[in-house]
């Protein structure tokens, strides 16, 4: 999704003004209430730790995630292996941080694809006339009528097991809610006088969309996308657990749980570690999304304020 290019100014009121606006933009981008919001702090903190672990963990870890060390298999947590080792003697902590890379990257890519597909379809539905709208929205209805994970399962099953296909499957099932939200927001501003004025001085469609229609959908879409990241991590892990996603020996959380399943009684750390990681990721993104909604959605904010007084 393309927003306004930062720094480009149509007013042309000189460089100082441009600086001023961009500085103001930065200031308003992170107003005090974003930083003061507890949900954002907690959720952001969790997600931050995850991202940090995903980036730094593999670098500092002395182990390789896939090299087998059969002499050290199924060791319980110790100083050398903080989270123990699995049935093939691989360090669980190392595999966990490598898995974080995969899960987060996959979540970002799948959510990004959902967002682009959904926003485009929503935008076209809202601006493209009644017939187009009707057809696209029925498509959305069909998509929403299917249970998402089952549909993803079918798609991933048909395409064959691989991480790329998981991303594809998850992007093809999740865009409908974006389409709905975007269509709703665009419809609500489409007839606003300022959009009509823009039409009256001959603004071409492209610019109309970019300047007047898209900015209004940024907030709700950002909230939805953040909440979605957690869901996608969970769904991807689920597909891998079922054997449709990451293939051994790739370190992936869902696959790790699948591997550890057989040693549930003797080595419970094998599934607790990735399980807790998945749970934390989902909780982290959900808290962050809720916090963002509090800050970005004015109506919702009013409610919370009222509750406080």
């Amino acid at each position: 999704m393309s927003g306004d290019e930062p720094g480009r100014s149509y007013t042309g009121l000189g460089r100082t003004n441009l600086l001023e606006t961009s500085r103001r933009r930065v200031r308003t981008a992170l107003p005090p209430r974003v930083r003061a919001n507890g949900l954002i702090r907690l959720g952001g903190g969790i997600c931050g730790v995850l991202v940090f672990a995903a980036i730094v963990g593999p670098v500092v870890s002395p182990y390789d995630p896939t090299t087998q060390a059969l002499e050290a298999r199924l060791q319980s947590p110790s100083l050398a292996h903080p989270l123990g080792t699995d049935a093939l003697g691989r360090d669980v902590a190392t595999r966990l941080v490598y898995g974080a890379r995969i899960s987060l990257a996959l979540a970002v890519v799948a959510t990004g694809l959902r967002l682009v597909i959904g926003t485009t379809i929503g935008l076209v539905a809202a601006t493209g006339g009644r017939l187009v709208d009707a057809v696209l929205m029925r498509l959305v209805d069909v998509q929403l009528a299917f249970p998402g994970l089952v549909l993803a399962l079918v798609i991933a099953g048909v395409l064959g097991p691989s991480l790329r296909n998981v991303v594809l499957a998850l992007s093809l099932v999740g865009w409908a809610s974006y389409a709905r939200i975007v269509r709703g927001s665009v419809l609500s501003v489409k007839r606003r006088p300022y959009v009509q004025s823009a039409k009256l001085y001959g603004t071409p469609w492209r610019r109309l969309v970019r300047r007047h229609l898209l900015p209004t959908v940024v907030s709700p879409v950002a909230v939805l996308a953040t909440l979605n990241l957690g869901t996608v991590v969970l769904a991807a892990a689920g597909l891998s657990f079922l054997g449709l996603g990451a293939q051994p020996p790739t370190a992936e959380w869902g696959a790790m749980i699948d591997d550890g399943r057989n040693y549930l009684r003797s080595a419970p750390w094998l599934i607790t570690a990735p399980g807790i990681a998945i749970a934390l990721t989902v909780i982290g993104f959900n808290l962050l999304g809720d916090g963002l909604r509090d800050v970005l959605d004015p109506d919702h904010l009013e409610d919370t304020q009222r509750r406080r007084t």
């Binding site: 149509y10 606003r192 959009v195 300047r211």
Partner: protein
């Protein structure tokens, strides 16, 4: 006689994250039993907060000091039970926006019946009863049907028997407000608090509702606290008037004396800026009290605008100041927009037999099945507009006046007839050339929604220039120029709409419309959402701009006083057609169509009350549905002078007395009437003469004849 309400030194405070605001800062007044008291002030004066505090709905503000005594009981410290009983039986409130006051999921009958239940049993409902609310409210409505019907008739809802089961969305705004009133009356309150009950309504509906309130007050001895920003409304109805400014009461006294002899300069200023108290086309005084430096900073409107900049302007017009280049680019050949060399005599915009209709159903299935019924919105309208001329377009909501503007602007397509701009036929916005687009500017009603909240004032004004291909430095110059045209400091270019007041937003919208130097500006109720003093400033600004730039205005309004003030010619619309067109003076002082007279009668606080032709109840009806217009003359179901013929013959638009009128008895009904009361006609005539005498010499007034 009912109980008395005493408000004494009330202070209400709002705490926001950054500051605390004393919205009400020591207000004191009394509502005697059975009296009608008006509470007047501009937005932000604290009048609504005061009213809400009385029924203890002041949250999120808090009452920090003072007392509200009703019937001897202190309300500021009353507990929930007392409050519930009081709200259920004694104090009733009617809010401003009728469309959001009613619950959309219950029928109006159910909602009125619920109000009756609350009167009979103001306590908390048992939990189980609350669970069964949906079912029980239907049953209750059936049981109390006669009572509900009676209430609906009391507030003037015709065919109550059929409408009792209708939902709020099936009602017009005026009818919804009547239902809200019926709900308030169901509690048989001894005091009714009405918070701007007619602000969102048409003048005719407003008149009918105000009459209804007055009658209820007389019949039931019910006290009324009427909150309004319109001194006209208040002074017409009320016994006493409280004028609020910035949270304090600045004047409090009997309505007549406040109106005729205001003591406080602010009251005086408020009265002066009502357009119907000034000569047409004159400069309206603006409420600039207190003087600039004293004016509290929380009022956004820069206080300088009315006074200082006006003198500035005079100097500029004389061409004597350093800022004299202000209007010059128009004359400057190099920077001249494509518009300036196209000056031609004759009309700039012509509408000929224009018609437009809308699909009744959006459903795809209906369209595929060919059930494609269309509702006419505008029907056979012809009009021409010359440079420097203002044509006022008046009528009730739904009469098609906004559609006409949208057609002319190119936002809708005509289904018949043609619109010509400088002699060339034009279609909708997509098919117009850049020059044609630049030649027509549009200003919409609601200043806050007509600006993109995410773009600065400068970016907003720059957009049309950017589309027209101006380069950056020229854009920059032009922004400064148009900002000064609308009397805003150049520094405002960096501000966002949320940092501006309503009046300033409207100025920015006007600036954007003027950016490409149009020759026609379409103004769709540009002042309807503004306070009276802001309205006065905007009207002054529009008049100045017209004089400077030789603009043609098509000015839509439902407020005849505003139209009388600004327009050279008036077109009165009813059900998509013009019923009367002619010079403003003539049409608004001696109308030849009964509908125009109806509209005139409805102006609140009209000084010449004795000139009223008919009782307002006569016009209480609503316009018929455009889907099934009545046979014959469209106005005959509401017309006080309609005859047998009117129900059969559709009158043509005929030339009468300097204008054109669509009435079988054009003017005749009036002459009959004036024979009956010769005094009226005399008064009207004198008014007409003084008006035309006082018209400034030298002001070119074209197009006085009908077309």
């Amino acid at each position: 006689m009912g109980p008395e309400l005493v408000v004494d030194d009330l202070r209400v405070r709002f705490r926001t994250r950054s500051e605390t605001v004393d919205a009400v800062d020591g207000a004191s007044f009394t509502v005697e039993p059975g009296a009608i008291v008006g509470l007047v002030g501009e937005s932000g004066s604290g009048k609504s907060v005061t009213a809400r505090s009385i029924v203890r709905l002041e949250s999120p503000g808090e009452i920090v000091d003072g007392s509200i005594k009703f019937d001897g009981r202190e309300l500021t410290s009353a507990d929930d039970r007392t409050l519930r009983r009081l709200r259920g039986r004694e104090l009733a409130m009617v809010f401003q926006d009728p469309s959001t006051t009613l619950n959309p999921v219950y029928t109006v009958g159910e909602q009125i019946a619920e109000a009756i239940r609350i009167r009979e049993n103001p306590g908390r409902q048992p939990f189980l009863a609350e669970l069964a609310a949906g079912v029980s409210s239907r049953l209750r409505t059936r049981r109390r049907r006669s009572e509900v019907l009676e209430l609906m008739e009391t507030v003037g809802i015709p065919q109550a028997d059929e409408r009792i089961d209708a939902y709020p969305h099936q009602f017009s705004g005026g009818m919804c407000q009547r239902v809200a009133l019926a709900m308030a009356l169901a509690r048989r309150p001894s005091l009714l608090i009405a918070d701007e009950p007619t602000t969102a309504l048409d003048t005719t509906t407003q008149a009918a509702i105000l009459d209804r309130l007055a009658r209820l007050n007389a019949e039931r001895g019910m006290g009324i606290l009427l909150i309004s920003h319109d001194l006209g409304v208040v002074s017409e109805l009320c016994d006493r008037v409280v004028v609020m400014y910035d949270g304090t009461v600045v004047e409090y006294g009997p309505a007549e004396s406040v109106r005729s002899d205001p003591e406080h300069p602010y009251t005086k200023a408020l009265l002066d800026c009502l357009p119907h108290r000034s000569e047409p086309r004159s400069r309206l005084p603006t409420a600039d009290w207190p003087p600039a430096d004293d004016r509290p900073s929380r009022s956004d409107e820069p206080p300088l605008q009315g006074t200082v900049l006006e003198t500035d302007r005079t100097a500029v017009d004389g061409g004597t100041t350093a800022t004299g280049e202000r209007g010059s680019p128009r004359r400057d050949a190099e920077t001249a927009a494509p518009g300036s060399d196209r000056r031609v005599d004759g009309p700039i915009v012509e509408l000929e037999d224009v018609a437009a209709s809308f699909r009744q159903s959006d459903a795809l299935v209906d369209r595929l099945l060919g059930r494609d019924e269309r509702v006419p919105a505008v029907n056979g309208v012809s009009l021409s507009l010359r440079a420097g001329e203002t044509v006022g377009l008046v009528g009730e909501s739904g009469c098609g006046k906004s559609t006409l503007v949208r057609l002319t602007a190119g936002l809708e397509e005509t289904t018949a007839g043609e619109i010509r701009l400088r002699g060339e036929r034009i279609g909708d916005a997509d098919s117009r050339t850049d020059d044609q687009l630049a030649d027509v500017g549009v200003v919409f009603q609601n200043p806050t929604t007509s600006l993109n909240p995410k773009r600065t004032v400068g970016q907003t004004i720059a957009e049309p220039l950017f589309e027209a291909g101006w380069d950056e430095s020229r854009r920059e110059d032009r922004i400064e120029e148009v900002l000064s045209l609308v009397d805003l400091p150049a520094a405002y270019a960096g501000r966002y709409p949320r940092q501006l007041s309503g009046g300033q937003c409207q100025r920015v919208a006007i600036a954007r419309a003027l950016a490409l130097e149009p020759s026609v500006v379409l103004l769709d109720e540009p002042t309807a959402a503004l306070d009276v003093s802001t309205q006065a400033r905007i009207l002054n600004l529009l008049a100045d701009l017209q004089a400077d730039l030789d603009l043609a205005y098509l000015f839509v309004s439902h407020d005849l006083a505003v139209v009388r003030h600004i327009a050279d010619r008036v077109a009165v619309m009813y059900l998509g057609q013009f019923v009367e067109v002619g010079p403003t003076n003539r049409v608004l002082s001696a109308p030849t169509h009964p509908y125009t007279q109806t509209l005139l009668d409805a102006i609140p606080g009209n000084e010449a009350e004795e000139c009223r032709q008919w009782d307002r109840e006569a016009l209480a009806g609503e316009p018929p549905s455009p889907t099934s217009p009545p046979d014959g003359c469209a106005f005959h179901p509401r017309c006080p002078v309609a005859s047998e013929d009117c129900t059969r013959v559709e009158p043509p638009l005929e030339a009468v007395d300097g204008g054109r009128t669509r009435c079988l008895y054009a003017g005749e009904w009036r002459s009959d009437d004036s024979q009956r009361s010769a005094g009226d006609a005399d008064a009207t005539e004198t008014q007409l003469i003084t008006n035309s005498e006082r018209t400034e010499p030298g002001v070119a007034r074209t197009g006085r004849d009908g077309r």
